[in-house]
């Protein structure tokens, strides 16, 4: 499902009344069935953008429309997209199976049917046998698998992922990335994946949208033409290296700029 983001600006008002522009005139066409990564330094508004696309946050100005160009719909929470959060946001009082089946339960699907479908998804993310565990009894990687299954069970056309693997250790992260690549190849959803890892963005994405530091604007859209199915071994190839170098230079400029601004702001305070 196509996503058309036009001139989205997000301004946060802080408590002392000053305004912070998190996102500035962001426009991009996300193509149906594509895996788009949004890469940028922290504070560039990339998570905010994902939440605006999901209808979870409201943009200060600008529009997000979803669907075919001749019949677009305004985005809304619980609409055609579903979010996978960095903090997972699993319900601690629900077991794994009741977390995964939550969306179906809210839609009024019978217990027998939603458990049957949840079991299939739990098995597909490698958590068979953990159905009646509580989230607190699982490792970070396992919790993120539950979060993924909980989102996938709804079979919505758009998958939003907000730094889902950001808090995982390096080994778990690699396993999860490969799993996500496999799921993407099987389902071909439209994916918007927010990350601050250059490796991750290039490995997963069909395109990498590199953001500027605050206020967040698009610095460059980098097409990634690595063949699919992809695997972590591709990180060693020269094509990957060239993309990495290019993205790295873009990001380094932004990070230095952001740091200089922070230093200047700190200096002004003194």
């Amino acid at each position: 499902m196509d996503i058309s983001v036009e001139n989205v600006t997000q301004i946060w008002k802080s408590r002392n009344g000053s305004k912070v522009t998190a996102l500035d005139q962001f426009s991009h066409q996300f193509k149906s069935g594509q895996f788009s990564c949004i890469l940028g330094p922290s504070g560039c508004g990339k998570s905010t953008l994902a939440q605006i696309v999901g209808g979870i946050e409201k943009a200060t100005t600008g529009t997000v429309s979803i669907g075919a160009a001749d019949n677009p719909a305004v985005t809304s929470i619980g609409g055609p997209s579903v979010m996978v959060w960095q903090s997972q946001n699993l319900f601690p009082w629900r077991t794994v199976i009741d977390n995964v089946a939550y969306g179906l339960e809210m839609a009024g699907v019978s217990r027998a049917e939603r458990y049957e479908r949840a079991r299939v998804l739990i098995a597909s993310v490698g958590l068979k046998g953990f159905e009646s565990h509580f989230p607190s009894q699982l490792s970070g990687g396992m919790r993120q698998r539950v979060a993924l299954a909980r989102a996938l069970i709804l079979d919505r056309p758009i998958l939003l992922m907000d730094e889902p693997f950001g808090a995982l250790d390096a080994q778990t992260k690699i396993v999860m990335q490969e799993e996500l690549l496999r799921i993407f190849d099987e389902t071909h959803k439209t994916v918007i994946f927010v990350t601050h890892s250059i490796d991750e963005a290039i490995l997963l994405g069909d395109e990498v949208i590199v953001m500027t530091a605050r206020p967040g604007r698009i610095k460059e859209v980098l097409p990634v033409n690595l063949p699919r199915p992809r695997s972590v071994e591709m990180i060693g190839t020269p094509e990957f290296g060239a993309l990495f170098d290019h993205a790295f230079h873009l990001i380094r400029d932004e990070v230095t700029k952001a740091m200089a601004e922070q230093n200047a702001a700190a200096g002004a305070k003194l």
Partner: protein
């Protein structure tokens, strides 16, 4: 190393019980050796005899039953109204704003000071004892329910809405269970003050209707000190049993809250 650990593990289990046994033993020896008059301090043996006699002639269970009934009636009233208003306050800003000055004014008031007024209005019968304990328990319950609702992770609510829950489904499936550990803590506080207030109310009014409080006052007035102690032992055990039972129930109803 291992031996040491098993020793300290054993000590951890045995010592608490041993300390009680040692205390009672020391008490008995102290009273016997110094020949203290039972009016001032009866020996543990005399107290247990009195306790057995009270069990034998049925006075203990009649009075304990009356007290328990009042405790559970007062607590149930406070729990239902406290949770109801706490949820209402947590879910509606306007209700919270209206309730705020009332709670701020009434919460610090010692509820026991309402006893004269309640006796004027309700007499010294059952309703006065139940109402005074319910009023007292209402406050910790309503406040922790409100706090529990307020501190529910907003991220979880957003996730629920994103997964297709409507607003009332999100309240029912996220806000309510999210608040439960805090509500339970409030219920435990509420139960504690209910016990205190019921016994206090029984001491002040309605000796004819029984209860542990009136049993204590009556025994005290005629200097049956071993009966006073026996009643205190019974009250202590009752309180401990209620608290333990409540903890067990909390664990059964909210097993996720323990291993967080």
């Amino acid at each position: 190393m291992n031996e040491e650990r098993s020793w300290s593990g054993l000590a951890e289990k045995v010592l608490p019980a041993l300390s009680i046994v040692a205390f009672i033993g020391a008490w008995q020896i102290f009273v016997d050796y110094n020949k203290i008059a039972p009016i001032y301090l009866p020996s543990p043996l005399a107290i247990s005899e009195a306790l057995l006699a009270m069990i034998g002639d049925g006075t203990l269970f009649t009075n304990l039953g009356a007290t328990l009934l009042r405790i559970f009636a007062g607590f149930a009233l406070a729990a239902v109204t406290g949770i109801f208003f706490g949820l209402l306050m947590g879910m509606s800003r306007i209700v919270a704003r209206v309730a705020d000055p009332w709670i701020a004014a009434l919460y610090p008031l010692p509820k026991i000071s309402l006893i004269p007024l309640l006796i004027i209005w309700l007499g010294t019968g059952e309703s006065y004892k139940i109402v005074i304990s319910a009023i007292t328990a209402f406050f910790p319950i309503v406040m922790s329910t409100y706090a529990g609702v307020r501190q529910v992770d907003r991220g979880l609510v957003k996730a629920a809405l994103d997964l297709g829950a409507n607003a009332s489904q999100a309240q029912l499936t996220v806000v309510l269970p999210g608040a439960i550990p805090t509500i339970f803590a409030g219920l435990q506080l509420g139960m504690g003050v209910t016990i205190i207030l019921v016994v206090a109310a029984e001491m002040i009014g309605g000796s004819a209707r029984g209860g542990m409080g009136s049993l204590l006052i009556q025994a005290g007035q005629v200097m049956e000190t071993e009966k006073v102690f026996a009643a205190l032992v019974a009250l202590t055990l009752m309180g401990a049993a209620i608290m333990k039972g409540q903890q067990w129930l909390d664990h059964r109803l909210a097993p996720w809250a323990d291993h967080r």
